[in-house]
C-alpha cells in the first residue's frame, strides 16, 4: 500500500553512517571476561589439560635438574638450561611448550562463539546493553588471561623447582630472559587462540571448528617446513651452484618458513634462552670477524635480535582477532 520512500531511506542511511555509535564499545566487557575466565578455570577440559602440562613440566624439569647438577660448571645461565635441557626419554621443557600451548589455546577458544549459538544464549546476551565488540573482546581477553595465568604458574613452578633442586638463586638477567620468553609464549598461544576463535565464528559446529584449528596447527607443525623447502627450490633454483644462488635459496626458504608461527616462536626461544645466539639467519664467516665465539650477548641485544619475531607473533594475534571481529560483526545473530 505505501510506496517506498527513497528520500527517507537515503536520509536514514546517511545519518546512520555519519552518527557515531552511542556509548563505549567496551561497556560490559569486564563482566564477560570475568564470566568466561571463571568458565575456563572450572571447566573439565582445562583441568585435564592443566594436569597434563604440569605433569609433563615437572617431569622434564626434574630430569633437567638432575642432568645439570651432575655436570656442575660455572654456567651463568643455569635456570635457562632448565628450560632447554633434554634427556632421553623426555624432551626439553620448551619442546613440550611448543606442543602444548597451541593445544591449550585451541581448547580455550574453539567453541567460544558457536556454542553461544547452539545454546541459544547469544541473542539473550546481545539483548543486554552491550555491543558485540564487548562480547568478542571479552571472550578473547579471557582466553588470553587464562593462558597467561597457566604459563605464569608454570614459570613460577620451574623457578621454584630450580631453587629447590639446584640450591642457587636465579640471576637478574636469567629472570629477564625468562620473562621475555613468557611474553613470547603467551602471544604464541594468542595466535592459536585467535585462530580457533575465527573458526568458532565461521563454523556453527564446535567439532568442525576444533578439527579445522587442529588441522591448521598440524599443517604448520609438520608440513610447512617441507613445503617451504620445496617452494624455495622451485622459486629460486640452483642452476650453476654459485654461492649467490645457494644463499638466495636458503634465505628464501628461511623467509617462507617464517610464515609459520612455530618458526617465529622457535627462533625467539633460541635467541632468548641461548644467550650465545648471534643471528637467526645465515651468517657468512666474513660477518663473524672480530666476534668472540661462545660469549653471551647482553639481554638487550638478544631482545633486539628477536624483535621482529616477537612483533610478528603479536601482530599475527591481532590480525587474526581482527578477522574474527569482522566476521562476527557481519553475522546475523538470529539463533
Amino acid at each position: 500500500m505505501a510506496q517506498p520512500n527513497p528520500a527517507l531511506a537515503a536520509r536514514s542511511e546517511a545519518t546512520g553512517r555519519a552518527a557515531a555509535r552511542e556509548g563505549s564499545p567496551w561497556k560490559g566487557m569486564w563482566a564477560v571476561v570475568a564470566k568466561e575466565m571463571a568458565d575456563h578455570l572450572s571447566s573439565a577440559r582445562m583441568v585435564v589439560l592443566e594436569i597434563l602440562i604440569v605433569l609433563a613440566a615437572v617431569g622434564s624439569i626434574y630430569v633437567a635438574t638432575q642432568n645439570i647438577s651432575q655436570n656442575i660448571s660455572q654456567d651463568r645461565f643455569l635456570y635457562l638450561r632448565l628450560f632447554t635441557t633434554a634427556q632421553n626419554p623426555l624432551p626439553a621443557f620448551v619442546a613440550l611448550l611448543a606442543f602444548f600451548i597451541p593445544l591449550v589455546a585451541i581448547a580455550l577458544a574453539f567453541d567460544s562463539v558457536n556454542s553461544e549459538f547452539s545454546r541459544r544464549t547469544l541473542s539473550r546476551v546481545l539483548a543486554q546493553p552491550i555491543y558485540r565488540d564487548a562480547l568478542l573482546m571479552g571472550k578473547f581477553l579471557a582466553g588470553l588471561f587464562t593462558l597467561a595465568l597457566v604459563c605464569t604458574a608454570l614459570w613460577l613452578l620451574i623457578f621454584g623447582l630450580g631453587i629447590l633442586r639446584l640450591g642457587v638463586a636465579p640471576g637478574g638477567e636469567e629472570v629477564g630472559r625468562a620473562l621475555w620468553f613468557l611474553l613470547a609464549t603467551i602471544f604464541y598461544g594468542g595466535i592459536w587462540l585467535a585462530l580457533a576463535m575465527v573458526f568458532s565464528v565461521i563454523f556453527r559446529q564446535p567439532a568442525t571448528a576444533a578439527l579445522t584449528s587442529t588441522a591448521v596447527w598440524l599443517f604448520f607443525t609438520v608440513f610447512w617446513n617441507i613445503i617451504a623447502g620445496l617452494l624455495a627450490q622451485s622459486l629460486s633454483p640452483i642452476r650453476f651452484g654459485t654461492l649467490g644462488e645457494l644463499l638466495a635459496q636458503a634465505n628464501l626458504q628461511l623467509a617462507l618458513s617464517r610464515f609459520s608461527p612455530n618458526t617465529l616462536y622457535a627462533e625467539t626461544m633460541i635467541a632468548l634462552l641461548n644467550p650465545e645466539t648471534r643471528s637467526l639467519g645465515i651468517l657468512l664467516p666474513t660477518q663473524m670477524e672480530g666476534a668472540i665465539l661462545g660469549s653471551p650477548l647482553p639481554l638487550s641485544q638478544s631482545v633486539a635480535l628477536i624483535w621482529p619475531q616477537l612483533t610478528g607473533l603479536i601482530a599475527a594475534t591481532i590480525v587474526l582477532f581482527a578477522l574474527a571481529y569482522i566476521l562476527f560483526q557481519r553475522q546475523e545473530i538470529r539463533a
Partner: protein, 323 residues
C-alpha cells in the same frame, strides 16, 4: 493520555532480493499488550530484531521509547527486555549465576545486585531452585527464568518471541497469567505467536502478519468484525415457522449472516451482544425459544478466514488497511 512506546514507519528489511519485512507501520501504546500474529516465516522475528537494534533495517524508521535502536542501541536495550524464542541459558551455571551475569552486563551496581537477582527470582517463583543448575530445569521453568532475566533490568517494554511455544498447557496458562501480572504493573508487552487462542487471551490488540506485511491490525473484536462480519456469533434454538422467525430476525438492526443451520437452529453474527433483541424477535414471530447462546469469534477463525481469502485472491484492499 496514552503515550506511544513503540512506533515503526515504513520499516523494511531485505535479505538480498527476499523481502522479510515490507513497509511495516506499527504503533504500540504504553501499557498495552500487543500481539504479532502470523505463520512461521512471516517476518515476526525479523521485526523484533530490528526493534532491538540487533539487525539494521534496510529502510524506514523505528522509535522505541522515543529512541532510535540503530543509533542508540545501548539506551534501548537497557530499557527493553527481550525474551527470545526458546531462550537459552548456560546449563552448567545455576539460575542465580545466570541472572547475575545478565545483571552485570546491565551494569547494575554491585551492592544492589544480590537483592535485584533475588527479587527477580521471587517474582517468577524460582527462589527455591535458585542454586540448582539450569540443566536440571524443565521447559516451563526455563521460560520463567527467561522472564526473571528480563525483569532484572526493570524494563518499560518487554518483547517476547513465541513465549509459549513448547510449553505444556498448564505451563502455558501459568505463563499467560504472568503476562497479565506484568501488564497490571504497567509494563508494555509486545509478543509474537502463532498460537491464536493464547494471543486472544492476553492481547489488547493484535497485528496479523503475512509475507512481511501487516495485513490486519486491531483488537480481536475489530478483526472479527472486519473479516467475519461480526465479533459475536449468536445461536438460538426455537420452534415455530422458520420463515417467520428468519424474517423477524432480519428486521433486527445489526444482525448479519442469518442462517438456519439445522431444524429449529439459527445462527447469526453481530457486532454487539444482541441476545435480548434476538429473543424478542423470536417471540414476536410466534416462536418458542428453547436456547440462546453467544460466543465470541476466535482468532483462529479470523486467521483461517483471512488466509482463505488471500488464497482465493479475493482480499479486498479495505482489509489491508488498518482497522
Amino acid at each position: 493520555m496514552s503515550e506511544t512506546v513503540l512506533e515503526t514507519r515504513d520499516l523494511t528489511k531485505k535479505y538480498n532480493s527476499f523481502v522479510a519485512v515490507d513497509h511495516l507501520n506499527l504503533q504500540v501504546q504504553a501499557g498495552e499488550v500487543f500481539g504479532l500474529l502470523g505463520p512461521n516465516g512471516a517476518g515476526k522475528t525479523t521485526t523484533i530484531l530490528m526493534l532491538l537494534g540487533l539487525t539494521e533495517p534496510t529502510s524506514g524508521s523505528v522509535r522505541v521509547l522515543g529512541l532510535d535502536p540503530t543509533r542508540q542501541p545501548l539506551s534501548v536495550k537497557s530499557r527493553v527486555g527481550y525474551l527470545p524464542d526458546q531462550v537459552g541459558f548456560y546449563d552448567e551455571l545455576t539460575a542465580r549465576e545466570n541472572l547475575t551475569y545478565i545483571a552485570r552486563l546491565n551494569a547494575i551496581p554491585n551492592q544492589q545486585l544480590p537483592a535485584r537477582v533475588e527479587e527477580a527470582l521471587e517474582r517468577v517463583g524460582l527462589r527455591d531452585v535458585a542454586d540448582k543448575r539450569v540443566a536440571t530445569f524443565s521447559r516451563g521453568m526455563r521460560q520463567r527464568l527467561g522472564v526473571a532475566d528480563v525483569l532484572i533490568k526493570n524494563p518499560r517494554l518487554i518483547i517476547m518471541d513465541e513465549p509459549t511455544s513448547g510449553l505444556d498447557p498448564e505451563a502455558s496458562l501459568e505463563f499467560l497469567e504472568m503476562i497479565r501480572a506484568l501488564k497490571r504493573e504497567g509494563i508494555t508487552i509486545l509478543l509474537s505467536s502463532h498460537l491464536l487462542y493464547q494471543v486472544q487471551a492476553v492481547c489488547d490488540r493484535v497485528g496479523l502478519f503475512h509475507k512481511g506485511r501487516m495485513v490486519l491490525q486491531g483488537s480481536v473484536n475489530e478483526l472479527a468484525e472486519r473479516v467475519l462480519g461480526g465479533a459475536y456469533r449468536i445461536q438460538l434454538q426455537a420452534e415455530g415457522d422458520p420463515q417467520a422467525i428468519q424474517a423477524a430476525l432480519q428486521r433486527v438492526d445489526g444482525f448479519r449472516n442469518i442462517r438456519q443451520t439445522a431444524e429449529n437452529l439459527y445462527t447469526m453474527e453481530a457486532a454487539r451482544d444482541l441476545r435480548p433483541e434476538a429473543a424478542q424477535a423470536v417471540v414476536s414471530a410466534g416462536g418458542r425459544l428453547y436456547k440462546l447462546d453467544v460466543q465470541t469469534q476466535s482468532l483462529e477463525e479470523i486467521y483461517s478466514a483471512y488466509f482463505k481469502e488471500v488464497e482465493h485472491g479475493t482480499t479486498q484492499s479495505s482489509l489491508s488497511r488498518q482497522v
